[in-house]
C-alpha cells in the first residue's frame, strides 16, 4: 500500500528493513542523550540532513515538512540565548534537529504495511501478558478499511440533510454518522466470525 507519508523509492534506506531503521533511530537517540558533546551535536545535524535527503523524496515536500519543527527549534534557541548558555542552546537544538530528521527519514522510506508487520513482531514477546499481535494487526487493517467507509457515509449524510434544508450542524451530522458506522461495525464483526476468524 502506498498510503500515508511513505514515499516509494529505491534508496538504501528504502531497501533496509523496518526493524533495522527503527532500531537505528533508537540507538542514535539514546547516544545523543548519553553523550552531551557540542561537536557531536553540531556534526550530527548535517549527517542527519544528508540521510533525510537520501530518501529521494521531492525537495519541496522535504522542506515543507521541516517548516514546523524549524520554527520551534528557533524558539528554543532564542530561549537559551536569553536565559541560558549558547552551549546549552546548541546542544538542545542539535539533538532535536537530528532526531526529527532521522525519524522523518524512517517514515518516508517505510510503507505502513511493513511498519504494521514490525509492530506485530515486536508485540510477540508480550503474548504471555495476553497481548495478541494478530489482533493488533487486524485492528490496524480494519481502521484503514474504515476511513473510506466513514467518508462515504459522511458524504451521503451531508447530502441528505442539505436536501432536508438543514444547514451544516455538527450534531445533525455526527449522530447519524456514529449510529450508521456502529451498525456497519456490528455487521462487519459478524462477517469476520463467519469467515472463520478465530478469537
Amino acid at each position: 500500500m502506498t498510503i500515508g507519508l511513505y514515499h516509494p523509492g529505491t534508496s538504501p534506506l528504502h531497501r533496509a528493513s523496518a526493524g533495522a531503521k527503527v532500531a537505528g533511530l533508537l540507538v542514535v537517540s539514546l547516544a545523543l542523550f548519553v553523550v552531551p558533546s557540542i561537536p557531536v551535536a553540531l556534526l550530527s545535524v548535517p549527517v542527519a540532513f544528508a540521510v533525510y535527503l537520501s530518501t529521494g523524496a521531492p525537495l519541496r515536500q522535504l522542506m515543507a515538512q521541516l517548516r514546523g519543527p524549524a520554527i520551534l527549534l528557533g524558539l528554543v534557541f532564542v530561549f537559551h540565548l536569553a536565559f541560558g548558555t549558547i552551549e546549552d542552546g546548541v546542544l538542545a537544538v542539535g539533538r532535536f534537529a537530528t532526531l526529527i530528521l532521522l525519524a522523518s527519514a524512517v517514515t518516508l522510506t517505510t510503507p505502513v504495511s511493513e511498519m504494521a508487520e514490525l509492530v506485530e513482531w515486536l508485540l510477540r514477546p508480550l503474548k504471555p501478558l495476553g497481548v495478541n499481535p494478530e489482533k493488533v494487526g487486524l485492528a490496524i487493517a480494519l481502521a484503514i478499511r474504515f476511513v473510506p467507509l466513514i467518508s462515504e457515509e459522511f458524504r451521503h449524510i451531508r447530502e441528505a440533510q442539505a436536501a432536508r434544508g438543514l444547514a451544516a450542524n455538527p450534531l445533525a451530522l455526527i449522530v447519524p454518522l456514529v449510529i450508521r458506522t456502529l451498525k456497519s461495525a456490528d455487521e462487519l464483526a459478524d462477517a469476520i466470525e463467519a469467515r472463520g476468524y478465530e478469537r
Partner: protein, 224 residues
C-alpha cells in the same frame, strides 16, 4: 414545472451530464438508467444539491443556482437509504427537526407532525426510537419528514431498493397517493410503469423519453 436548459455537468473533468434540454410538466416522471449513467446526479440537480457546470435548472421558474433556499423549500428529496436523512433518535423529534430549522412556531409543529404521521397511519410510531423501526417504516418516516415541510415537488432517488415486498408495496402506494408532482429514479421498473413519462439516461444523455410502455421495454432490452 421542471425545466432544464442545455445542462452539462462533470466531476473532476469527467463528463456526467451532457447538454440536456427538457421541460417536464407531467405530474409523474420516472427515470431509469444503468449504474453510473448519471441518474442520481440528474435528481440532485433538481434541488440544488448539484449545481450544473453549464446551463440552467428551473423549478417553477426559480433558478437552482440563484436561490438555493427557496429551491430546498420547494423540492423535497427522499433518498434510497432512510438512515442517512434521519437525524434525531425519536420519530417525532426527527419530524420536528426540519420544521425547527425553518423556524416554524412550536404549536404549529405539533399539529403538522400529527397530520404527517396520520397520513400513513404511523401515529403509533410517534415516540418510538427510529433505529428500531423496520425498513419500510423507516422509509415512510423519512418520507413524512419531507412532506411535513410542505414541499411543492417530491424527488425520490431509488426509494424502495432496501425494502421487502410488503414494505415496497407500502411505499409504492404512498408514492402513488401523493398529491404532489413527483419524480422517481428507480431500478424497480414496476414502480414507475404507471407513470406519465419515463426518461432513460445513458452516458449522461437522454437516450429515450416517452411513455413507460415505450421506454421500459427498450431499457430492459439494453440491460441484457
Amino acid at each position: 414545472m421542471i425545466v432544464l436548459e442545455a445542462v452539462s455537468h462533470d466531476f473532476d473533468g469527467r463528463p456526467v451530464l451532457d447538454g440536456i434540454d427538457l421541460a417536464l410538466p407531467e405530474r409523474r416522471i420516472g427515470v431509469v438508467g444503468a449504474n453510473g449513467s448519471g441518474k442520481s446526479t440528474f435528481a440532485r440537480l433538481l434541488n440544488g444539491l448539484v449545481v450544473p457546470r453549464a446551463g440552467r435548472v428551473l423549478v417553477d421558474g426559480v433558478d437552482t443556482r440563484k436561490d438555493v433556499k427557496a429551491i430546498r423549500r420547494k423540492v423535497g428529496f427522499v433518498f434510497q437509504n432512510p438512515d442517512h436523512q434521519i437525524v434525531m433518535p425519536i420519530v417525532a423529534e426527527d419530524l420536528a427537526f426540519g420544521l425547527k430549522a425553518r423556524k416554524v412556531p412550536k404549536d404549529e409543529i405539533d399539529a403538522r407532525i400529527d397530520a404527517a404521521l396520520a397520513r400513513y397511519q404511523l401515529d403509533h410510531l410517534r415516540e418510538r426510537p427510529v433505529h428500531l423501526l423496520s425498513g419500510g417504516e423507516k422509509q415512510l418516516v423519512a418520507l413524512s419528514a419531507v412532506l411535513v415541510t410542505d414541499p411543492e415537488i417530491v424527488v425520490f432517488d431509488e426509494p424502495t431498493t432496501l425494502l421487502d415486498l410488503r414494505n415496497r408495496n407500502r411505499v409504492a402506494a404512498a408514492i402513488d397517493a401523493l398529491p404532489h408532482p413527483t419524480l422517481v429514479v428507480s431500478h424497480d421498473l414496476d414502480l414507475i410503469s404507471g407513470f406519465e413519462r419515463v426518461l432513460m439516461i445513458e452516458d449522461g444523455r437522454i437516450a429515450a423519453d416517452g411513455l413507460p410502455g415505450e421506454v421500459l421495454p427498450f431499457y430492459r432490452a439494453r440491460m441484457q
